[in-house]
Amino acid sequence: MKTVELTNVSRWYGNVVAINNVTMTLGSGVTGLLGPNGAGKTTLLHMMSGFLAPSQGELRIGGEPAWRNPGIYRHLGLVSEREAVHGFLTAWDFVVASAKLHRLPRPEEAARRAIGLVEMADAQDRRIETFSKGMRQRTRVAAALVHDPEILLLDEPFNGMDPRQRLHMMELLHQMGGSGRTVLFSSHILEEVEEVSGTVQVIVAGRLAASGDFRTIRRLMTHRPHVFAIRSSDDRRLAVALMNEESVNGLDLNQAGLTVRAGNYGAFTRALPKIALREGLRVRQLIPSDESLESVFSYLITA
């Protein structure tokens, strides 16, 4: 088994810190690299794939340094976020060229297998520039898998795929993880990561915010206090009634309306209509004010 090891890795651009002292070890199985846009996922993947030098710290792929070491690509497959491909080549030519550049003994055979894995055999003789975004993505995955790598890094691999293709790609990643390979994929979509991987590394603002089993982290996320902005026909009476509700942790009443901090999202949203009905109040506005993924992630840092 080949591992990806990061020890106190930082990367900065001038005064801007993109990755801040990240330490992690990735072993066999599928790991999701989760974080909001701009958190540093791509920077981290670029460093892992040898396309960016860490400003500080050590980064090893299968025990070898990743920077200035093309040898790592014998064990590493990379699907970068940027979807540029040699559009003038057919999918077949592109994947066979990848196999030849890897110096595989039977490049055609390897290409046929890789193209079959991503279900692109029917379109393999078309030029890549005629492909949809999802087809291009699958072709790039085929090229990354052609040498059967022990480590596979994918940057936002589900971008541009339709639901069926997405499901198929998820199965493929599952299979690879299940057969003992180290698979890391990045995503900013919580549900995507949940479906594919049991282990996640959550990165927020360049820092590793959480790491480990997805369910534990998800529980932390759902049990955090939720903030709602409410306006009703009588905010004061509603506030009094809500104070008796168990899921409410705190209230703030002011001229703009009512701000409620709920400990349990589901219980509160079920209870509010009942309370309003019982009190004969009309709820005019209910806005969950911190539902962005960023706020979920930033909660993790302080949790």
Partner: protein, 237 residues
């Protein structure tokens, strides 16, 4: 040499629209030569301007610039270079393949019209001299322009500055700069193979050959080193 990379590079170059930019100048050179010759005026009066002023000073470096910055620079621009770099290949294999394609295409597209011009103007020997000079210069220019596409983000601009300011302008005003001018090496090679009054050499042949090799090898070594440390800029982070 890595034939897979050379093949992809050549197909990429021919597939891009900028490849069409290679043809107007050779055609113009041939048209000018045929037109001037048909007037019956002694070549002594017009051939230096056509061969040196147009062929060596404009056509050859412009073709070399388009091709030399195109073989790697356009792959860096559009990000496709990552597919080639994410392979367990020693970086010198990539650079050598790119150099061979760049120098080969540059030499071919410039040497053929120059050979014809040489034959029309003087003799087959003069044609061969011009063609060999194109080959030597193509090697030097390709080394420089390939390295430029890894050293700067604006290789075409920097390359144009070298050709227009250093070679064309300073080369005429400050004679000392001619030692570092690939244009002058082409003239020296031509003069050595077919000495006549049409082309004047200002740099000795040994120096011209040695300096061409320095440009080629130096450019290649610089490019290999820069490619080893090639970084991808993060777009979303």
């Amino acid at each position: 040499m890595n034939l897979t990379i050379a093949g992809i590079t050549a197909r990429g170059l021919f597939g891009r629209r900028r490849f069409l930019l290679l043809f107007p100048l050779p055609v113009l050179l041939l048209v000018l030569t045929v037109a001037a010759k048909s007037t019956g005026v002694d070549p002594e009066h017009w051939a230096p301007s056509v061969i040196d002023g147009m062929g060596f000073a404009v056509m050859l470096p412009v073709i070399a610039l388009i091709v030399g910055t195109g073989v790697l620079g356009s792959e860096i621009d559009d990000g496709t270079v990552v597919h080639i770099l994410a392979k367990p290949l020693p970086r010198h294999q990539i650079i050598v393949a790119k150099l061979v394609v760049a120098a080969g295409i540059t030499a071919l597209t410039s040497a053929v019209p120059m050979f014809i011009v040489g034959v029309l103007v003087d003799s087959a020997r003069f044609g061969v001299a011009l063609a060999v000079a194109c080959l030597v210069a193509a090697l030097g220019y390709s080394g420089v322009f390939l390295a430029m596409s890894l050293v700067t983000r604006r290789p075409v601009l920097v390359g144009l500055l070298y050709v227009l300011i250093w070679e064309a302008l300073l080369g005429n005003v400050l004679t000392g700069t001619r030692v570092l001018s690939i244009h002058q090496y082409a003239l020296s090679v031509t003069h050595a193979i077919a000495p006549n009054d049409l082309i004047k050499a200002h740099v000795g042949l040994p120096a011209a050959l040695a300096m061409s090799a320095v440009f080629l090898v130096g450019g290649a070594l610089l490019a290999i080193d820069r490619l080893r440390s090639f970084s991808v800029a993060g777009e979303t982070s």
